[in-house]
Amino acid sequence: MSAWFALGCKSSLGRLAASAGVAALVWLLWGFPAGQPELAATAKAAAAPVTCATCHVGVATSYSHAPMRHALEPVDNDPVLLTHPKLTVEQGRYSYAVETKDGKSTYTVSDGKDSLTVPIHWMFGQKSQTWVLEKDGNLYEGLVSYFPRENGLGTTPGDGKTDPKNLTEAMGRKITTWETLQCFNCHATAASEGTKLTLDKLRPGLDCDRCHEGAAQHMADAAHDNFSTLPKSLKKMDAEDTANFCGQCHRTWDTVIRNNWKGTVDVRFQPYRLENSKCFVGNDPRISCLACHNPHQPVDHNDAFYDAKCQACHGEAKATAVAAATAIKSCPVSKDKCVSCHMPKVELPGGHATFTDHMIRVVKAGEVYPD
């Protein structure tokens, strides 16, 4: 975890060299007042914009590959569409085509007689991908999405029961202001001001300042060698705070409870599921989201990677020493790939994908998904 912020501002030359490769990562551009020392001078010399990556080279580099960074892909550089220049599917009496040419993507729906084509401006998701479309000033969630498991188009999750009456309805589901705000605020940066969408200012994916509030001020001050305005350290949050912080988008336990969301669809809401685990407690860093996941890095899909995290509590030595007092058990079946049994994969209804259930438990054969 400490490696996330490992590279400090020791060497301006080092910062500069490293920043060249990731300068485009963060579009927080700040000018340098005259008379500033080395950082300003070297930045000018290289003619590179100063970004978070100027100092935080390592974390910026790794974050450039992290899923949250790609929660919304840039319009002219979307790997999914660039590698799939023509996607088509028949859905009921409508046919769909998503085509990409010269970096521009379009979404077409046809009923055999007429067709409707709109440009794609917003690509949600790095693997599975849904497109938000604009028509006549309204925003729509495309009725078909791309799913890597099928390597093709399918019905967008949640829209399976939609019965389109015309081409516009077949194109997509009209989304409300509030839904739009939620979508963009969790997939992009600077997408809104209060209740107003600011799509003209939007930056795709989650930039540093989306989580690190105050990053812009810090960068401005750091350019003056003033480090008194550091953003709040998220590393110091306890498990409860971390679950709530990540839950802003991944949904908190409170949010799911207050909305009475039920069923296997809630497997997507990892903080909620985690807090339903018997072993979760808010003041224990070993069960924090961050104990297993580094948000600045891609998710590790190797089950064995997580064994050490489980063993931090359930390890043989620890279990022996504290078992009587804390009732922490060690597994009688296996000591490796714990998550393969205790955090089963659950098929998301209509999602064309499985999600890891973060409700850690002893899974009994044939059990009903525990809400």
Binding site: G194, K196, W253, D254, I257, F280, G282
Partner: protein, 392 residues
């Protein structure tokens, strides 16, 4: 007036109702909606059957009552239904038609009496509950009206589209009168979503939004302008045009900077979509009306939802200083204390809530958070499971 005499419509009976199946798009002639209660009753099926051993005299009276009703002769129909139910007091259908016809004749006590017989025979019959609730509204028995309309809607009386408008409009008024403003707004939401508007309806929505328990019909003309304008802004918001509503509310704030509960109204609407969006409005309300305990309480509540516990605590304290047992403020205070480390006082406050309402989910959620932060794993898990159990 949204409630017009409906005698003409009702006297034409079921066949007439069927010709009037679709309610008007606006609420200008709502009287035509009511006969559909009759149809709804038939659709429910509870009026038919159960009269296998009818005496010849009863059969004759019942047939003549139906004929009188079909021909539009309301007084005669009421008389004949009355005779028939005296012969056969367990004839629910007869009582219901009496109730309906009495209502249509503006004889509301008579309607209440007849419908009470229906409900004795068929407890919980949704159409009878709703119609009795409407009758009680007309007699000024508002508490009874709220009870019956609320119960009727819970049992599906508003599921019949042709009855939905009149039932929801009256229920909304009764909810606002009882101080259940947010519940009232949820009823008004139906009209906005369906683009049904009317000056009385906008006034009613404005009153609910501005936390005024006066009924629209009793509200003085001189105060209407601002309330109706607020209702219009709220209506635009509830119909889905948030930007349009934002403009209307801002104009209202400029024009009426000292009128209480305008910011409160907008804040409540925003709260439905995101507590953090509402916080600024509630703060403005507290500035306009510093002694408004409800404004302090809802500000505390919104801050609590947004996880801003240190800010929530003084607002909750301010509310409780004015109204010591205000539940919303107690929850906000209890949760804030729980999250900021004062477990002892948090437990005291939350237990006050739970003593009144053992199933208060927010109180259990606060306890879960408190135990979790304190490292009390089993207690936290227990409280979470209590909350999950409440959802099932």
């Amino acid at each position: 007036m949204l409630v017009a005499p409906i005698s003409e419509a009702v006297t034409k009976g079921v066949s007439y109702c069927k010709q009037q199946i679709l309610p008007p798009r606006t609420a200008n002639s709502p009287g035509l909606w009511l006969p559909n209660l009759l149809l709804a009753a038939l659709l429910f099926g509870w009026l038919i059957g159960g009269n296998a051993q009818q005496a010849p005299q009863f059969d004759d009276l019942a047939a003549r009552a139906v004929a009188a009703r079909d021909s539009g002769n309301v007084p005669q129909a009421i008389e004949l239904y009355g005779q028939a139910t005296r012969l056969k007091p367990d004839w629910a259908e007869g009582w219901f038609y009496q109730g309906l016809l009495q209502y249509s004749s503006n004889n509301f006590p008579g309607a209440i009496d007849a419908l009470s017989h229906v409900l004795e025979l068929k407890p919980g019959a949704a159409p009878a509950l709703a119609l009795r609730g409407l009758s009680e509204f007309e007699t000024g028995a508002y508490d009874d009206s709220l009870r019956d309309l609320d119960e009727g809607v819970k049992k599906g009386a508003a599921n019949e589209p042709r009855n939905e408008q009149i039932i929801r409009y009256h229920l909304a008024q009764m909810l606002a009168r009882a101080g259940r403003f947010q519940d009232a707004m949820l009823q008004y939401q139906f009209f906005a979503s369906n683009h049904i508007d009317d000056p009385d309806l906008l006034l009613g929505l404005g009153l609910a939004g501005m936390r005024n328990t006066t009924l629209p019909k009793d509200f003085p003309a001189e105060g209407r302008e601002v309330v109706e304008a607020a209702g219009s802004a709220g209506y635009v918001f509830l119909s889905g045009d948030s930007q349009g509503a934002d403009g209307l509310f801002k104009k209202l704030f400029e024009r009426y900077p000292t009128v209480p509960n305008l910011h409160f109204f907008y804040g409540v609407l925003l709260f439905m979509h995101g507590p953090d969006l509402a916080i600024d409005q509630f703060k403005s309300e507290v500035e306009v009306a510093p002694s408004n305990a409800a404004a302090h309480a809802i500000l505390a509540y919104a801050l609590m939802f947004a996880g801003r516990f240190t800010e929530a605590q003084p607002e909750a304290e301010a509310a409780l200083a004015r109204v010591p047992d205000m539940e919303m403020a107690q929850i906000a205070l209890g949760r804030s204390l729980a999250e900021t480390g004062d477990a002892k006082r948090a437990t005291e406050v939350l237990n006050q809530v739970l003593q009144r309402d053992a199933d208060n989910m927010e109180a259990h959620m606060a306890l879960a958070a408190m135990y979790s932060r304190a490292g009390k794993r089993e207690e936290a898990y227990r409280e979470r499971m209590v909350c999950l159990g409440m959802q099932k």
